[in-house]
Symmetry: C2
Subunit: 258 residues, 2 copies
């Protein structure tokens, strides 16, 4: 198995290293920035290229780790050099159909985790969402993924699109609610860490239970008095008030007059 990595950013670097450590040959590393390509190529024993004209056709897999916006353009450029090769991207937000004009064998290799440049990633726990347009390619990608992670999932375009928006709610938006909570407490010089055990409990619950069944708080109890008190408490923060109202109503549609 020979893999060529297109893009030497965070994800490209982490994946190339992880493959290399598992004994998978990295054939070439491409980055428009020559130095970046060289740095990574050296680590994983690959050739560095900074011009797609120099791409070799001999790899078994071309793994695009470029930004979402660049996938289509890079594919067009690649297509003049590759045609019977398997090409995948690593994007949660991009349909595999982005490839359909350029390649006959394509798919997705999407790691569902955020990566930092300076932190080593243990891929064994990272869910890898795999799709191959052709059944044989999907099988190959699933096998490759299984060498990296214990959590490998066949996820089609439609499922991945939903997964991506679901991740925004469960991850990006919850983080913003933590920010709101932190900023409210900072104003009163209360330590946010007081809330950590409560948050931990909620997190433990949703590992095994439906969040709906463990919902607590004034909204689900139809505790109008507390809900109104909270909205008043937020009077200095009209945006937070709006969020409070919208989510409370979503928790309990019977709460009107919010």
């Amino acid at each position: 198995m020979k893999v060529t990595i297109i893009g030497a950013g965070n994800l490209g670097t982490h994946l190339a290293k992880a493959f290399f450590e598992k004994g998978i040959v990295i054939s070439q590393v491409f980055s428009r920035k020559k130095e970046k390509a060289q740095t990574l190529a050296q680590i994983v024993g690959a050739d560095a290229i900074s011009n797609l004209e120099n791409i070799e056709k001999t790899a078994d897999l071309y793994l695009l780790t470029v930004s979402d916006d660049a996938i289509s353009q890079v594919s067009r450029q690649l297509s003049t050099h590759l045609n019977l090769s398997l090409v995948v991207h690593t994007s949660g937000a991009t349909s595999s159909l982005v490839f359909s004009d350029y390649f006959s064998r394509f798919g997705v290799f999407y790691p569902l985790q955020t990566f930092k440049a300076d932190q080593k990633v243990d891929f064994s726990e990272v869910p890898l969402c795999i799709y191959g347009k052709r059944e044989k390619d999907q099988k190959l990608l699933l096998q490759l993924a299984a060498q990296l992670s214990q959590s490998v999932h066949a996820i089609d375009d439609d499922q991945r699109a939903t997964l991506h928006v679901a991740a925004v709610f469960a991850n990006n938006f919850t983080n913003h609610l933590f920010h709101i909570s932190q900023s409210l407490l900072a104003e009163k010089e209360v330590d946010f860490r007081l809330l950590l055990p409560l948050i931990q409990t909620t997190f433990e619950k949703i590992k095994t239970q439906h969040a709906m069944e463990v919902q607590t708080g004034p909204a689900i109890r139809s505790d109008h008095q507390t809900v109104h008190k909270h909205i008043e408490e937020l009077s200095g923060h009209p945006v937070y008030q709006k969020i409070y109202r919208v989510i409370s109503k979503s928790i309990n549609p019977k709460l009107d007059k919010l």
Copy 2:
């Protein structure tokens, strides 16, 4: 130190047991439901009463664990029997001023955690938010709390009100976002557990960092294309669309035309 517990619900039961285990004497247990009072009283070696007329004046602390709505009424009834005693409630949502018409010595003993009837609680990790109107009483309450927990905090009414609304954002509302995420994924038969490593990472980050500084996702990146794709993806769920819009705008006010 002798404590009388008013209310034999979840919290009353857990607190009475925890005090009892630490060698603190539980004098009486009150519940309107005689059987409930008796069950708990027996466990903690106390007398059971179901009529406040039978309350004894000799306890050092009267701990109200009744529902928020009942605090005022129970206080009025108690006030004819107690006047120089220390009375506290256990509510995050109620000002200590609820007591001011009835008692001269009052305060709050608020455990910041949810409790289930059937699960043993380890109070050592539960943040206890303490307030005493009189300094001496606050000191006594802090000492009592320190026998139960390593996480004891002097929190006044104003701070506790903010803490309560901050907990709604960080706990109740995040749980609802997990519910939205779960329900979206269930529709496409995708396992919610795929998101757990990502959620875990976010949770680990906010233990030590400002959530604002670790915010990720399309909104903070001003990635209009993905934001609009997500809103379209949610077309079958107008309430979720609304939540998506409101939180995205709060994350990044420059995202207009949502």
